[in-house]
Structure formats: structure tokens, C-alpha cells
Subunit: 125 residues, 4 copies
Amino acid sequence: MTHLGARLTHIGPGRVHIVLPARPEVTQQHGYVHAGATSAIADSAGGYAALTLFDEDSEVRTVEYKINLLAPAGGDHLEAIGTVLKPGRTLTVCQLEVYGVQGDGARKLVANGQQTLIRVVRPGQ
Amino acid sequence: MTHLGARLTHIGPGRVHIVLPARPEVTQQHGYVHAGATSAIADSAGGYAALTLFDEDSEVRTVEYKINLLAPAGGDHLEAIGTVLKPGRTLTVCQLEVYGVQGDGARKLVANGQQTLIRVVRPGQ
Amino acid sequence: MTHLGARLTHIGPGRVHIVLPARPEVTQQHGYVHAGATSAIADSAGGYAALTLFDEDSEVRTVEYKINLLAPAGGDHLEAIGTVLKPGRTLTVCQLEVYGVQGDGARKLVANGQQTLIRVVRPGQ
Amino acid sequence: MTHLGARLTHIGPGRVHIVLPARPEVTQQHGYVHAGATSAIADSAGGYAALTLFDEDSEVRTVEYKINLLAPAGGDHLEAIGTVLKPGRTLTVCQLEVYGVQGDGARKLVANGQQTLIRVVRPGQ
């Protein structure tokens, strides 16, 4: 995430926001953020959202996700929102949304997904 | 849908509800509705939700869907809700939710999905 | 599955075939098998394929699946093939294929999917 | 892709390979490639595989994909393989595989996915 220039902007129980500025490193020739970066922040937002529900000995790993790229990911920055739909001792399911946000705050849904995560106890604990 | 005993209970712009009573034909030995029937009403709810946004010469076909089966599909009946996330001239994306509803109205999310549909002009028109 | 008229036609380690005759109960007005029935046999084929790898105290449940409906599901019968891509003590991932098969044996891929299953130890054992 | 250090290593009709060396920029503390980079090369491999089937006025865009992360993405490099399952004038469906490859050539499937793409005619043509 650091490599992409993304940062966590909200952490609540079962919900996390990640912001990714539309810097040249993550955009293509038309100024839109690459699908790969869009997906990566969505996946991360879901993972952190799940993590908020577990104790510090737990890690979560993405089992799978599915994402629809709904519109070109334009704007000043992207905001990915991960929301836990169904927490579980073993498996957790999250909804993933990514918005393109303009400098004036106008928002557009650019990607929507769904993700399954597995909780694992950190090795050595 | 008729074969399963399902019926449309709500039709609004971009949103459709389908109810499936938990009859013996669609339940397994534990009284839960089969995953196949749960998925079928979710898929149909999304398809009809998309159809509400198009004129009468249009049909929609499911390109693909993904569904998480979150909990045993128990209750008096299931309610599937299809909601259009992103309409389009060619492709439409819907969110799919299925709730298990008890006789007293208590509801539980039993499945959640995401679906891509394509609009086609009805042959001969 | 019995309700749909489907039957297991091949069971090998990590691979199961299910055949569904195109009877009127599962076809629509154009003679194609409904997407719901196509998906149901795909999901079942994956579940049984996973089950072949575990001992008799184990059950498997579908966590989620994603399916692309590639072509109208026509023919004399459908054949669903579930193949384990990655077995696991907790989670197993399967590939799902459904072919439309003509009376003369000609085959066409009508649906393709991917499925995640979880192994559970049968209650009371 | 350039940003990640990936390169195309095979281009055939309906099939493309992409190799991503496991450089520090794309690996986490345990030496495994990040899920985001794994998914990005899988998505790209499918997109290029579809592109091989169309004329030079066509572009393809990812509509959606689903990916299972099957194992830690370790090895000397990753190889993503995109294969067209079903080409189409409007929509194309691809299978996505990612292997972790050791220095001695040993291979392990680390991710498997499925992708839907739409063909668009390049603006201005």
C-alpha cells in the first residue's frame, strides 16, 4: 500500500476507508487509476475492515474476491471502503466499494466488489 | 421461478423483491432452502431489477454472478432483493441479497452477491 | 438434485460429473435449461468433487461461487463437471464447467465457474 | 505493468503469459508477492489474451474478475497465464492462472480466476 501511496483515513468496527491519490505512478495515459491499483486498495480496505473485529493475535488473509470495474477510475483521488457483511470465527465476508472523488468532493462509484477472508492465528502465538 | 413457487412482491425502478416460501420441494432434510434455489431467486431478482430500467423491447440476460452463502437459508420464507448498482446501455451491474425471514418478521442475511447483465433487443423487434 | 432430475455419472478423486436431462420442468420456452438449474448442477458437481477427497466424517459446504453463463444451455442434456483445483484441510477451490450435449454427442461449453468450499466435521462425530 | 516490473513472455491466439520477478518492490516482509500485484498481472494477462483475437481498432476493458488466492505467491518469479474460454463480439471470458516459479523451474498454482471483458472500438476510429 505504501508503494502505491495509499493511506488509511477511517478505521471503525467492521469498516475501513483507504484513500489513494491519483498520482502519475498509478495512473495510465488518460489520467485514470489503473484497475490493478483500484483492486488493490479495495482488497486492502476489506482486509483491514475484517481485522478491526479480531484480537491482536489474529491475521486475516484474502481467500478470494470479485470486483466489477464500473467506470473509469478518475478524479483527484480514489476512496476505497471495506465493510464487513458477515463476520465469522473462520470466514468473514466484506463488501468493497471504490469511489472516484473530485477536488470539489463530487463522488462516483467506480468499482464494487465482494470478498471472502480467513482468520489465521499469527504464527508463534 | 413458478416451478420453485417464487413470486414477485415488489417492483420499483432498479429494485425488485422475490419471495420464496420454504416448501418441502425446495428444502433439504434440515428444513433449509437449497443453495440452488437461493441462488436462483437472487439471480432472478437482479434480472428483473435491471429490466425495470429498460423499455419493453429490451431483454436482459445474466452474463455472470458471484454469490456468498453466508448462513443456512432458514425461516418461513426467503426474500431476495435485487438492486441496480450501475445501469448501462449494454451492461448493468446489480447487488443481490437474500434474507431468511421468520414467521414473526425477524430477518437474517443468508446470501449476498453481485451480478453482471447484458441488455439485448428482443428478436424480431 | 433429485427434484431437478439430475444424476451423478462419474465420481473420481477430485472430479465429479453430473448429468441433467433437458426436461420441460427445467427448460424455458425456447428449450434452454434455466440458468438456475445450470448453476445448481455446477455447484453440486464442485461440492461432490471436493467430498471425494475427504473421509466419511466430513461434509463440505459452498462458501461462494462465481459463474459465467457463456451461451444458451441447449442440447439433449447438460453435463456439469466439478474439478478440485486446490484441496485443503479447511478450504477447497473447484473449477466448474457445464457443457450442453447434443444427442449425437456434440458438446459446447455453456457455463464456467469457480467455487470455494469449506470442510466441516459432521455434527455428532 | 512497467511500474511493477512485469513483462510479456508469450503471446499466442487467445493466450498470453506475463512474468513478474519477485523484486522487493512487489513483495512483503515474508518474500511473497502482494495479492495486489498477483491480481494485477492476472487481470492483464486475460486482457492481452482477449486482445490477440481482435483487430487493431479494438480495445478491451475488464468488466469484472474474480480471483482465488490459493497459496502464498512465493518463488523466483510469478507467471500469469490468461486464456480465452469464450470469445465474443461484445463480451469475452478468460481463465486466469498465476504460478509461483522457483529458480529450478518448479511451479505451483498460487491464484486462479475468471474474468469478463468488453470489446470497445478505439475512440476516433
